[in-house]
């Protein structure tokens, strides 16, 4: 079996590499855009205007409270009906992944901001800074230190979750498995190879995050 795995890997390494590329691309888009939307969401949720914070809460709770697979299906069929042009599969699936991730990221960011001592905001305001200036100069830079490691972990989670995109044959690593499985009727071998690749990706990223966290702490 190990022999078969080696042969498989060598023969289809281009396909596996392609899968890794798509998986990382999807995860990157998910966390990247998810962070932008998540930041806005977090600010909305902390907003003093009640309807805004309420709507943000509803959005976050619904997206965290329903299965990602369901959301993938939903957006897969919903997005083409909403957009005036014919969106690609990739657009539909990444929309679902981004929106789902934005809900989780917003909670990471909110927790990171709220972990900053309230006195920091007060001190900045007492100097005459506006809330926005105090946020930008004092609170957010400190919150970033709390947020970055958690965001890295979200990236690791998303690498794994993008495997659901293979439901729609999107070209990610799990799709590679399905391709090989379909072509050769081999089940275990390609599955184990893909598993090992996933593990290498997530494990090395986790270690990298832990290292940078340690570096940040040492810099202090």
């Amino acid at each position: 079996m190990i022999e078969t795995m080696f042969m498989l890997f060598l023969k289809y390494r281009g396909l596996f590499l392609e899968g890794v590329k798509y998986t990382l691309l999807l995860a990157f888009i998910t966390v990247g855009i998810g962070t932008v939307i998540g930041t806005l969401l977090a600010l909305c949720k902390m907003c003093r205007i009640k309807p805004i914070s309420f709507l943000a809460s509803v959005y976050i709770e619904v997206l965290r409270g329903t299965p990602l697979l369901l959301q993938l299906y939903l957006f897969y069929f919903l997005v083409p009906q909403i957009l005036p042009w014919e969106p690609s599969k990739f657009t539909c699936v990444s929309t679902a992944l981004v929106l789902n991730s934005s809900a989780y990221v917003s909670e990471i960011i909110r927790a990171g901001i709220q972990a900053v001592d309230l006195g920091q905001m007060e001190a900045a305001r007492s100097l005459g800074l506006s809330t926005a200036q105090a946020m930008r100069k004092v609170v957010l830079p400190q919150a970033t230190r709390n947020i970055l490691p958690a965001l890295g972990n979200e990236f690791v989670t998303d690498i794994k979750e993008t495997s659901l995109a293979s439901t729609f044959f999107l070209g990610d690593l799990m799709t590679t498995y399905r391709t090989i499985n379909g072509a050769l009727y081999l089940t275990l071998e390609p599955l184990i190879i893909v598993g090992i690749i996933y593990f290498i990706l997530t494990f090395s990223l986790s270690k990298l995050i832990a290292y940078s966290e340690w570096r940040m702490a040492a810099n202090d």
Binding site: G119, A123, R125, L127, G128, K137
Partner: protein
């Protein structure tokens, strides 16, 4: 300079300030004393609107700060504040703690702010620490930094909220020296403090707060040696 009229503040059902009327004059040094929970910190924090009053008015140079149309940020630039827990900015160097606000708010050019920060840091003996993060400083050093950070905005009045309460005893002196030097330059100052000896020494006037009102107000000699109010007598007998 600051006129307070019938100020009230509720936290939920709890009324912390029950109608305070007071005036702080130019160059006056006023210490506020009283037991914990008497409302003295809340009163001080209302002066620059860090707490939003429930009722009453606060006039700073005859501008009503409780008016929602007033841009409070402009007025806060003229009211420096020092906190019990220092609240220095750990994400900036010691020097940037001082230069950030004046440059960001266009009160000073970068070069002017640099010069001012050097002068201020030399004054408090922290010039050689200018490039380190404040996390590396002792409590006393942090509080001295917090004081000059406020001074860098060249305020017209300084508000101190229990500036030595969170300090180890051996560091109280170094902070009080800085405040005393500041008071001697003629800075209008309001201090909430438990340091009775210090209050007696530097103040023009003492306010004794009790249960959300100013129960007694007078010169240090009057308050400490000849208090009229029973509550004042009772409080002083416990702390002196």
């Amino acid at each position: 300079m600051i006129r307070v009229e019938n100020l009230t503040k509720n936290f939920g059902k709890l009324q912390v300030l029950k109608g305070v009327t007071e005036e702080i004059r130019q160059k006056e040094v006023v210490s506020i004393i009283g037991a914990s929970g008497s409302g003295k910190s809340t009163f001080l924090r209302c002066l620059n609107m860090l707490e939003t009053p429930t009722g009453g008015k606060i006039y700073f140079h005859n501008v009503d700060l409780t008016d929602k149309k007033v841009d409070i940020n402009v007025h806060r630039q003229k009211m420096g504040m020092v906190f019990q827990h220092f609240n220095v900015f750990p994400n900036m160097s010691v020097r940037e703690n001082i230069t950030m606000a004046p440059t960001l708010l266009n009160k000073k050019t970068a070069a002017e702010a640099e010069r001012l920060s050097e002068e201020l840091l030399r004054r408090i003996g922290l010039w050689d620490k200018r490039n380190v993060r404040p996390t590396k400083l002792s409590g006393g050093q942090k509080q001295r930094l917090a004081i000059v950070r406020a001074l860098a905005m060249e305020p017209e009045v300084m508000l101190f909220d229990e500036p030595t309460s969170a300090l180890d005893p051996e560091m109280v002196g170094e902070v009080l020296v800085v405040i005393k030097e500041l008071v001697e330059t003629g800075m209008t100052t309001v201090i909430v403090t438990h340091e009775m000896g210090f209050a007696r020494e530097v103040s023009d006037r003492i306010l004794f707060m009790d249960d959300g009102v100013i129960a007694e107000s007078g010169s240090p000699d009057q308050i400490f040696y000849n208090p009229q109010n029973e509550r004042t007598k009772d409080f002083l007998s416990k702390v002196l």
